[in-house]
Symmetry: C2
Subunit: 177 residues, 2 copies
Amino acid sequence: MKQTAVTPVVLGLLALGPRSGYDIKTVVDRSTRFFWAASYGQIYPELKRLEEEGLVEGEDRPSGGRSRRVYRLTPAGHQALVDWLLGSTVTIELRDESLLRLFFADALPHEQALQLLEGRKRGHQEYLEVLRAIQALPGEPDPTYVDLVLRWGIDFNEWGARWCEEQLERLRTRKAA
Amino acid sequence: MKQTAVTPVVLGLLALGPRSGYDIKTVVDRSTRFFWAASYGQIYPELKRLEEEGLVEGEDRPSGGRSRRVYRLTPAGHQALVDWLLGSTVTIELRDESLLRLFFADALPHEQALQLLEGRKRGHQEYLEVLRAIQALPGEPDPTYVDLVLRWGIDFNEWGARWCEEQLERLRTRKAA
DNA sequence: GACAGACATATCGTAGTGATATATCGTCAC
DNA sequence: GTGACGATATATCACTACGATATGTCTGTC
């Protein structure tokens, strides 16, 4: 079975209930996009491909003149999801412009370099607010592991802000010494 | 001035000294790739483009029959680097398959889901070893901020492994309750 | 009844990836 | 000294992904 970057996220979301391509994109943008993004340009072709392979089943369910095709997971699709969940491939890619700036910060005067750290700290704090707002959203509580991943985001940004603060102190006192 | 994803990393590395495209790729693979990757397919065209814009200067310096073109930063290029360093754009993109697995882990039996957390912890520990090996490399110490970013990688992975451990405990005791 | 905004699918230009082709050089073994 | 192999060096190409937007429909509301 062919695997692309969106395969698992499509299968995983359909496992939580039948959805259209549009629905998938909406849910992704509100949840996994923080660590796994997906675009229409990937989702729609992928749904077609997965249907050809028999992992999902589509059903036209237009509402009036507006077309809508809802997909559900087949047993084979559920198996493919579990196989992936138990698999051992690990993709980790990070693209962090703020770290890249820090990396080259020796080209700046001391004070301006420290301001990069201040900026990074602020970035973590702002991100934190966004995630806390999501956590505080009304509605039934998230499933255990969905909640766990949200926690990760919150804990990570707390850690990140603290780290910046510690390094600022270290670099300031070291300079004074 | 047009900006692509590799512009800052090329300018930044040339600021540390003249280099060929091959050199840039080698240094990237040993350092920034952890948070900012770059491929030949980006680097060579980018060097040409930056030369046309007058931000870098190339000089053919073949050794024997083997061609080699070494680039150096122009004053305009240095200015462009400083402008970017002081800029406020923030790109943060994360693609973390292990988090995606956790997100969908409610589809697994409790024990197997916990094993995903164990696996993630192990991933952090392995990454940690790689980074510690880099830190222990002989040679003159890295510039302050280059070292700072390496520290970040180490501290982050230590934090990540600890976080997994804490969540494992929490989920285990909660289940028992 | 008009307008904004959500719903839904589809597509397209641009850019990035990873692999590989081509060629030279250094060095180590035998 | 020659053959093999890996490092140096540039270039390119097929494939994939991304982000933005075109197109059209429906719903709520002022």
